[in-house]
């Protein structure tokens, strides 16, 4: 038997072994296990702010962290967020007043992602230019501090670990960890066979998960660059992914119109969030602070709210006039923000 034949046989045997091992621990599913849990209350949130300022489709938004709460004595403490639009701008918003605090003009208007550094000093953006551009918000005039240029496909997502490291995912099927001092890739994460569309950092920042057009989610060790686990189940592109706050599970959203929860320690899908009446792809998702509620943005202009334990739909955020492209819940869990192709961001609670 040639080595190629041997490799194929071993691969099949390993896949069978993994499936058997998953089945062996698959003694129930989340919805069944949670049958005794009291249902989440019907969630009816109101639009508290509509942020108007972008002139074209919004593709991404990201909340600033608790490290960067700003205060003006007349208003009290407020929380910042960044949004990115095809109008070629990043806008920094004071969410409480709804005012724009900063505007960052982009070299390329084909932006697909934006990110706020935990410190609040930096923001990043990227898209069809294949680059991740990092800006310093704290210099007297906002300055470009780095252009991270090595991906050979579009930049789909970026997330800062700190002011010196950032993670990116790309249409070139890779993810990368960059050193912001040198502007170079420290680690390239290779294993997906389709465009990487999204990533989420674990709370302890030792691992991250990625979702891709190969319908797979993967868990990676940031320091050794290795893919540790692969999660199957979706039947189309995974556009959105998030760690559960407990760090032992992840939630994914897909063009197959479902969201799923995968438990990392059981190494398998434990619940699927779907409805026969829902036939729009999921574009984005965010979790409430306890993880109990999933806010999932869809192509059908709505954001559906799911009970993460019981798998039931418990609410909907309707109000956008086009696809919901991004969602985010800030660290204090006090609201959810939705951004849309209708050019508006809405804040709900």
């Amino acid at each position: 038997m040639g080595e190629m034949e041997q490799m194929k046989k071993e691969a099949e045997a390993l896949k069978t072994q993994i499936e058997a091992a998953r089945k062996a621990v698959g003694d129930t599913d989340m919805a069944s296990a949670a049958s005794g849990v009291a249902p989440a209350p019907r969630v009816q949130l109101k639009t508290r702010r509509t942020l108007k300022g972008h002139l074209a489709k919004i593709y991404a938004m990201h909340w600033s962290t608790d490290n960067n709460l700003s205060s003006l004595s007349s208003i009290g403490v407020f929380r910042l967020m960044v949004s990115a639009s095809q109008d070629g701008k990043l806008l920094i918003w004071d969410s409480h007043s709804g005012n724009k605090v900063n505007a960052v003009p982009l070299k390329s208007s084909w932006v697909m992602t934006c990110a706020y550094a935990p410190s609040g000093n930096l923001v990043a953006s990227g898209g069809l230019d294949n680059m991740c551009t990092v800006y310093n918000l704290k210099t007297p005039v906002i300055k470009t501090v780095k252009e991270l240029d090595a991906h050979t496909g579009y930049l789909s997502c970026a997330r800062f670990l700190s002011d010196t490291e950032i993670l990116t995912s790309s249409g070139d099927t890779t993810c990368a960890l960059w050193d912001l001092e040198t502007g170079k890739q420290k680690t390239v994460f290779l294993n997906h066979v389709g465009d990487c569309m999204c990533l989420s950092l674990s709370p302890d920042m030792n691992t991250f998960v990625s979702g891709a057009c190969d319908s797979l989610a993967k868990l990676w060790d940031i320091r050794d660059g290795q893919c540790k686990q692969t999660f199957q189940g979706h039947t189309s592109d995974i556009n959105a992914i998030s760690f559960y706050p407990s760090a032992n599970a992840i939630i994914t959203g897909s063009d197959d119109c479902t969201c799923k929860m995968y438990d990392l320690r059981a190494d398998q899908e434990v619940i699927s969030y779907q409805d026969a009446a829902l036939n729009s792809g999921v574009t984005s998702l965010a979790l409430s602070m306890s993880g109990r509620l999933i806010f999932a943005g869809y192509d059908d202009f709505n954001c559906n709210i799911w009970d993460s334990l019981k798998g039931e739909k418990v609410g909907v955020l309707s109000g956008h006039d086009n696809r919901v492209s991004c969602t985010g819940v800030p660290e204090d869990g006090m609201c959810v923000c939705t951004g849309s192709w209708d050019s508006f961001l809405k804040i709900w609670n």
Binding site: A11, L14, A21, G171, D263, Q268, D332
Partner: protein
């Protein structure tokens, strides 16, 4: 599929050497096969406990009293 700005790539060839690719795939599968797994019943119980313990700190789940809601419109101030 999204009607995105460009159509997404699909099934990119990973490496030009099929044997090297097959070896990498087997190596990856070995890593994934070797992990310890816990029962879904235990994983679910832990998740339910986590949600239960943190529910009271979850403003969107519990509701936010108007007086504590930073997004509730405040009455406008008049400077006399």
């Amino acid at each position: 599929m999204h009607s995105y700005m460009v159509s997404k790539m699909s099934s990119k060839m990973v490496g030009s050497n099929n044997l090297a690719h097959a070896r990498r795939m087997v190596q990856q599968l070995r890593v994934e096969a070797s992990i310890e797994r816990i029962k879904v019943s235990k994983a679910s119980a832990d998740l339910m406990r986590y949600c239960g313990e943190n529910a009271k700190y979850d403003p969107l789940l519990m509701g936010i009293p108007a007086s504590e809601n930073p997004f509730k419109d405040k009455k406008p101030c008049t400077i006399l």
